[in-house]
């Protein structure tokens, strides 16, 4: 069943001068986890916020569960908020320091699920994310980073959403904590039948969480497909470069890898290159790439936006 369908979604800032997200299309099936990967400024967080309707899309359509939610007003959004929730990057910044954990988790519950027994539900959900019920009376600063992120997860889960947009949920955490949260999220998905849109810059993390991966570059999706395909046989040169740039924590294997180091920096959305946005950095770029923007087409079982995709 298609839970979420996005077509031609765009977001421009400064009166259209900056195209942060430029016409992307995605679908998420019920129970699916979609990884949205890319470097900073590629538009992945903006996309996540548009799906949450925290940002107004400039163009395109978002259909959730068969209903067009692109232009819902504040009041109509309420029922939607119950279905789609969000987990944020910085566990401390996302928890209001002036509220207790109980208030933080209880507030959306009171608003979105007024029928629930707040106290009991909050305690249950705290236990579910691995915290103690008595933690409800404490303030965020009394928790470690990993615990705080668990509170953030509890807040998202308490209204029983069907889809969770997780924006870099582990990148602010210490290495030894990341795995705890990744495992927790995996467990919850399995137990509660959730769908995720998992936004991350770290390909290694995404690989552990998501079944489908979308790689973004400068506001567009350049490759989207199943995990195995993307990681084993990346078709877009940018996907390959990304993969090769992530070091493997094994000296022998790492030093033996054939590496593809990209030149230059990711371009600015205020001043995008002509043709394929990746062309100035692309080792395979031909003259066509500088002139013509490639469309997202199916290559070897996944969609790729490249004139010369790798077809291994």
């Amino acid at each position: 069943m298609t839970l979420l369908e996005v077509t031609g979604l765009s977001k421009t800032f400064r009166k259209g001068k900056i195209r942060a997200v430029d016409g992307i299309s995605l679908t998420v099936q019920a129970g699916d986890t979609l990884g949205l990967v890319g470097e900073s400024g590629c538009g992945k967080s903006t996309t996540g916020r548009m799906l949450m309707r925290l940002l107004e899309p400039s163009a395109g359509r978002i259909i959730f569960d068969g209903k067009d939610i692109t232009r819902l007003g504040a009041r109509q959004l309420r029922p939607l908020r119950r279905d789609i929730q969000m987990i944020f990057q910085d566990p401390f910044s996302s928890l209001n320091p002036r509220h207790t954990v109980g208030e933080i988790i209880g507030t959306p519950l009171k608003i979105l699920r007024p029928e629930a027994n707040v106290r009991k539900t909050v305690q249950e959900i705290l236990e579910r994310v691995g915290l103690a019920p008595e933690h409800a009376g404490r303030y965020p600063h009394q928790f470690s980073g990993g615990q705080a992120q668990r509170i953030g997860i509890a807040r998202a889960l308490v209204v029983r959403p069907r889809l969770i947009v997780a924006d870099e949920p582990v990148s602010a955490l210490d290495v030894s904590i990341q795995a705890q949260i990744i495992n927790l999220m995996s467990d919850l998905r399995r137990d509660l039948g959730l769908s995720y849109i998992f936004i991350a810059h770290d390909l290694a993390v995404v690989r552990h969480v998501c079944q489908r991966i979308a790689v973004m570059y400068l506001g567009r999706v350049v490759e989207i497909g199943d995990r195995e395909q993307i990681y084993a046989t990346p078709a877009h040169p940018y996907t390959s470069a990304l993969l090769s740039a992530v070091p493997i924590p094994h000296p022998v294997a790492e030093r033996a890898r054939k590496r593809m180091v990209l030149q230059g920096d990711p371009p600015s959305p205020a001043n995008p290159p002509a043709g394929c946005a990746f062309s100035p950095r692309c080792p395979k770029a031909a003259s066509r790439c500088h002139a013509e923007r490639p469309a997202l087409t199916e290559v070897a079982g996944r969609l790729v936006a490249c004139h010369f995709p790798e077809t291994a």
């Binding site: 690989r207 000296p251 030093r255």
Partner: protein, 320 residues
């Protein structure tokens, strides 16, 4: 004589926070030592101690750079080492560069100071350095200000600045953490290339085991202000002796592992340095500790696992 010899280093901040407690290691000329640790493990504190840049903290023990003692030496003596014989680059190149001076000025400054070079010579040197770190149109860009560079380019400027006086030791404190992965790869490559060209010794401080695996000859794993394991990169990664090192390697999501199987996390959180656990500082989170061993009471000493490969763990003693 090693280029850098650190022994029994202890750094204490006001309020009795002991950020580094009895750390010893050496770094040979032309080699790379990777110091790995999570936030609060004391790795950055160590690097600042080597540079003699702590102002509020009490530093004790011994740090010798090419035989010259840094700890307790007169400020002026340490200052002459800084920039000239050892240089440092930082995590956030934007805030580490002065926003109001051109990069040319900032690169030339140290060169003029340490070599007594003329303004003009220093300018030429600065342009050379920019070219060397791969910044296009170096002459023109000398007059630019830091905010006019991209993140990766800024870090290159930092490196140019650090290397302008041909130091023997480069301390890189999380030089790629603030950068995108593709840019990180460029910077790591640049550092590796420059190291080869000048015979530089690099002290790479990072939380990323992958980065260390890529460029380090030696690895030092730090946990809560103390060394957990140290040795040449290959044995440390492939035959990790300390439960913390093993835990780190196991909990890391990686591109080459099994995507289906769950990660094995280290339980709990890193301890507070204000009130660190007694005995082995890792013992509250250690899954391998046993009640027979004095994990909770006694600080483990260095034990040799193999040639040059040490770990500070009671288990090692027991297994012997």
């Amino acid at each position: 004589m090693s280029l850098l010899e650190v022994s029994g280093l202890r750094v204490t901040f006001p309020g009795d926070v002991c950020a580094v407690d009895g750390l010893s290691f050496t770094l040979e000329r032309g080699k790379t030592l990777g110091i790995v640790g999570e936030s609060g493990s004391g790795k950055s504190v160590t690097s600042l101690a080597i540079m003699g840049l702590h102002r509020d903290a009490t530093v004790s023990g011994s740090i010798r750079v090419d035989g010259i003692q840094v700890v307790g030496a007169p400020q002026d003596q340490v200052r002459r080492l800084r920039g000239r014989r050892m240089a440092m680059i930082f995590q956030d190149p934007l805030s580490s560069l002065h926003p109001a001076y051109t990069v040319g000025e900032q690169i030339a400054e140290a060169y003029r100071l340490h070599f007594g070079a003329s303004r003009k010579a220093a300018r030429v040197r600065a342009a050379d350095m920019l070219a060397q770190v791969g910044i296009p149109e170096p002459r023109r860009r000398l007059a630019d200000y830091p905010h006019q560079f991209s993140g990766g380019m800024r870090q290159r400027v930092m490196i140019a600045m650090a290397l302008a006086c041909e130091p023997e030791l480069l301390i890189a404190d999380e030089p790629t953490t603030a950068l995108d992965v593709t840019v990180q790869a460029q910077i790591l490559e640049l550092i590796a290339r420059l190291q080869q060209e000048i015979g530089l010794a690099v002290l790479m401080i990072t939380h990323d085991l992958g980065v260390v695996a890529r460029i380090a000859d030696e690895v030092l794993i730090m946990y809560a202000g103390a060394a957990a394991e140290q040795g040449p990169a290959i044995p440390v990664f492939t035959r990790a002796q300390h439960p913390y090192t093993r835990g780190l390697l196991n909990c890391l999501p990686r591109l080459d592992g099994d995507a289906q199987s769950p990660l094995i996390p280290i339980q709990g959180s890193p301890p507070s340095l204000l009130n660190p656990p007694a005995g082995c500082r890792f013992h509250p989170r250690c899954t391998e500790r046993t009640s027979e061993l004095p994990c909770a009471t006694e600080r483990p000493a260095w034990r040799i696992a193999s040639r040059g490969h040490h770990a500070a763990c009671h288990l090692l003693e027991a297994n012997r």
